[in-house]
């Protein structure tokens, strides 16, 4: 059963029940603040701990020990007084901390004294020729099916890209008896050298041991091609083959399923629509919100925790969630905040959790040719705009993503730029010899997720309407 929020006002509203949101809501409630956790999924966990309370996968080592950490977080939340609503889509947040949320086909408005955004990450677009063909999907989508329904690929499957999640997914698929024909690793050779100076911190991090054993496990069972410098999907209305270049040699292999992944980036849509300032992150190659050490954004009362604050991984997300909730408690209930874990302790936990991150970011920095497409490759899937279309618009005067809308409808479809925004910024920056920061990003608008006209029409009347009726 889905229920609307019980109140109209809360001390703290947390948006997203992944690692950061779970930790933030539990901490906030522990401090005695009236806390509402709104989450879009059917259960807690976000992407990392997806279906943590409901997965049909019971053998623990198949999903890995890290996955089951989520169960403790869920337990802590359930033991608290936080109000939790799942299948709740927040579609608007503004600088007055008014939140519009859709639950069970009806929208409600709530107001918060503090908002903690824990909207997590999205997969980075991977715009190669043919990436819009049926049969090509993101690794994240494959992982969602695996975690929530134990579904794994059984047809000819190719995984292409790079990053820790790619290896994790490959291991999970294999453990559940799925099929992988080949892995095409697009990590640039030069990245290994660039990452070397950061290797010491990485060696001391938990990523190192786990990552290495996972890669070993996968490589024992699947042919891995490294140093892939070109990649294209082909087929007539359906994926039929994947062609690639590695070591200067081109090869085409038949495939029914291509899973693409080149890392994750902050999911910024709700924060940007609320007016939060963001900056281009040159290392992670994405937009990250401008935050202080407690996660507070440029909009008073809005804090951001988890990967939405800049990619840091699940362990860091948990700590960032606690830090943001602690800051909210300090502002709203200082006496209660004093009983929470000390800020110094949390900061040192965070430093530990973030160890090795620079190494990973440097090693898995996606190569330019996989971020900035050329020619007929589709950039904006909603409106079918190609890289060449965008370059043509730049040539006759389009200066940035918002100006581009006057030429092409990029970013104006239902995805609101989630699948093309970074590509458009980087493509225009390259074409105009500017930095992505100078080029900027789409101005994002509510509703950040579409709602039906019928649902909006059913929103309770405003006082003005009632007065208008009375006036007749």
């Amino acid at each position: 059963m889905t229920v609307a929020p019980k109140r109209e006002d809360y001390d703290v509203v947390v948006i997203g029940a992944g690692p950061a949101g779970l930790a933030a809501a539990a901490t906030s409630a522990e401090a005695g603040l009236s806390t509402l956790l709104l989450d879009e999924n059917i259960g807690p966990g976000g992407q990392v701990f997806r279906a943590i309370a409901s997965t049909p996968v019971t053998e623990r080592n198949q999903l890995g020990a890290d996955y089951w950490v989520g169960a403790d977080l869920v337990q802590a939340l359930r033991a608290s007084n936080a109000e939790v609503i799942h299948r709740a889509t927040v579609w608007s947040l503004d600088r007055n901390l008014e939140i519009a949320v859709s639950v069970g086909g009806a929208s409600a408005f709530v107001k918060a004294k503090r908002v903690i955004l824990a909207t997590g990450a999205l997969e980075r677009p991977f715009p190669i020729p043919g990436w819009t063909l049926p049969g090509v999907m993101t690794a994240g989508a494959a992982q969602t099916m695996l975690k929530s329904s134990a579904l794994v690929p059984d047809r000819r499957t190719v995984i292409a890209g790079q990053g820790p999640l790619l290896w994790l997914l490959a291991a999970q698929i294999l453990r559940l008896g799925g099929r992988i024909d080949r892995i095409l690793d697009t990590t640039e050779r030069g990245n290994y050298f660039a990452a070397l100076p950061h290797a010491f911190a990485f060696l001391a991090s938990p990523y190192f041991r786990k990552g290495l054993s996972m890669m070993r496990e996968v490589k024992a069972k699947v042919q891995v091609v490294s140093g892939v410098t070109e990649l294209a999907a082909s087929g007539d209305g359906q994926l039929a083959g994947v062609s690639y270049v590695a070591g200067g040699k081109r090869e085409t292999i038949p495939a029914d399923l291509l899973l693409l992944h080149q890392g994750v980036v902050p999911n910024v849509n709700l924060a940007m629509a609320a007016g939060v300032d963001h900056r281009w992150d040159d290392l992670q190659l994405c937009w990250s919100p401008v935050l202080d050490a407690s996660g507070n954004s440029s909009v008073a009362g809005i804090a951001i925790a988890g990967d939405g604050a800049g990619i840091g991984g699940a362990s860091a997300a948990v700590v960032r969630g606690r830090i943001a909730a602690r800051a909210a408690a300090e502002a709203l209930a200082p006496a209660a905040a004093a009983k929470l874990p000390a800020l110094a302790t949390l900061r040192s936990d965070l430093a530990k959790a973030e160890r090795g991150r620079t190494f990973l970011d440097t090693l898995f920095r996606p190569a330019p040719q996989f971020r900035i497409p050329a020619g007929d490759t589709i950039v904006c899937r909603c409106e079918e705009v190609t890289a060449k279309d965008i370059l043509d618009a730049v040539a006759i005067g389009a200066t940035g993503p918002n100006q581009l809308k006057a030429y092409r409808r990029t970013g104006m479809g239902p995805c609101q730029g989630r699948l093309c925004g970074l590509t458009v910024t980087e493509l225009m920056a390259q074409a105009r010899a500017k930095t992505p920061q100078e080029i900027g990003y789409y101005r994002l608008r509510a509703p950040v997720k579409p709602i039906t006209l019928a649902e909006l029409a059913a929103v309770p009347k405003s006082e003005d309407d009632i007065k208008a009726v009375v006036r007749g």
Binding site: D94, F109, Q403, A406, A457
Partner: protein, 373 residues
């Protein structure tokens, strides 16, 4: 160093861009100064209505002049601006509203204007098949239509620059002053001087006018719009309601734009607006009631553009009442987009010829200072 030009146009909306373009066509060299980028505010994000229908009488001659330009818009700016003219229809939802429509059309006819035509229920249903059966008629202006506002403003800006206008975007005009018969304006480290200054700064124009000693009753407003996902084609003309705040337009790609003048809260200094969803819900309810075909559509995006609204809802257009060489072109009060092409042409005539054949006398800034007020 100061650069001398023929005219300084402050504001890169449809009006500033159109005036700059028409000054170029008249052989002058203007500079166009825009603090953000051309079309950043109301001119680029309005509903795109190209409408003579239901206008205030003092601005009808300017609107008619503009319509003539719209019909040949490609010739002027080398861009079709996505202009289409399937007419605009004002719907009366009951007999009382239809009576108001009848009186309005009769009044216009007396004044010699024939662009508005009274229609009965049958003709209304022919033009707008999806409208609720209870509506008894309305008014149509058959040459009206709509265009893409961002595309249009961008096209005017681009053409003006091609014809020799200097365009400065991203830095606000500052330190506006007059000395020895010339207007001086700073743009960052640059400085421009010209005998003519056009104040076309939209929501920011009232401040400029006041600074130059001509305060006017103006407020900053942000009318809200929302757009739906694609739905099957069901309507050609733009539809507006007589009695309720609603305008409605389906584009070629199937998306439907819903507007009508409900206001967001503008935060002008930050270039931001905060939407009022409860008012947008009122628009959604009206569409829901009148167009059952729309009930399953989804709202994809909503926004509001910042602009100036005059107390009497008609623009300030024409020469200053105080300063030689100063011209005002602002305060279009939620209905300036259609007027843009014509207003630029007329403004260029005022500047170059010292007069125009188009009747604009009631729009002058001096209306706020006349002793009869």
């Amino acid at each position: 160093m100061t650069k001398n030009v023929d005219a300084i146009v402050v504001g890169g909306g449809i009006h500033g861009c159109s005036t700059a373009l028409h000054l170029c066509l008249a052989g002058l060299k203007p500079v166009l100064i825009e603090k953000d980028y051309a079309g950043r505010h109301a001119s680029g994000v309005n509903a795109g209505g190209v409408r003579q229908l239901a206008r205030h009488i003092p601005e009808i001659p300017l609107s008619i002049r503009s319509m003539g330009i719209w019909e040949k818009i490609s010739d002027l700016v080398d861009d079709d601006c996505s202009f289409e003219n399937y007419g605009q229809v004002l719907v009366a939802e009951n007999e009382e509203e239809l009576a108001v429509c009848r009186a309005r059309v009769a009044e216009l006819n007396t004044l010699g204007f024939t662009h508005e035509e009274l229609i009965d229920a049958t003709e209304l249903r022919r033009l707008v098949p999806a409208v609720a059966e209870t509506c008894p008629g309305g008014v149509v202006s058959r040459r009206d239509g709509a265009a893409n506002p961002a595309q249009t403003t961008t096209a005017f800006r681009r053409k003006a620059e091609q014809l020799g206008a200097i365009v400065r975007e991203g830095v606000a005009a500052s330190n506006i002053r007059q000395s020895e018969g010339l207007w001086h304006v700073d743009v960052g480290a640059e400085s421009f001087a010209a005998p003519v200054l056009v104040n076309a700064a939209g929501a920011w124009a009232g401040t400029i006018a006041a600074t130059l000693g001509e305060p006017v009753p103006v407020e900053t407003v942000a009318p809200m719009l929302m757009i739906t996902s694609r739905v099957p084609h069901f309507i050609d003309p733009v539809v507006i309601l007589r009695g309720r705040k609603l305008s409605f337009k389906q584009f070629k790609n199937g998306t439907v734009l819903i507007g009508g003048g409900h206001l967001a809260t503008p935060y002008q200094d930050r270039n931001e607006t905060v939407l009022d969803w409860k008012s947008l819900a009122t628009s959604a309810r009206t569409v829901f009631e009148l167009f059952p075909v729309m009930r399953d559509a989804t709202i994809v995006r909503a926004w509001a553009g910042i602009e100036a609204k005059m107390k009497d809802d008609i623009p300030v257009f024409g020469p200053s009442s105080r300063h030689k060489g100063l011209y005002h072109q602002f305060g279009f009060s939620l209905h300036g987009f259609q007027l843009g092409p014509g207003a630029g042409a007329v403004m260029a005539e005022l500047i170059v010829n010292g007069g125009t054949q188009t009747r604009i006398g009631d729009l002058g800034i001096d209306r706020f200072y006349s002793p009869t007020l």
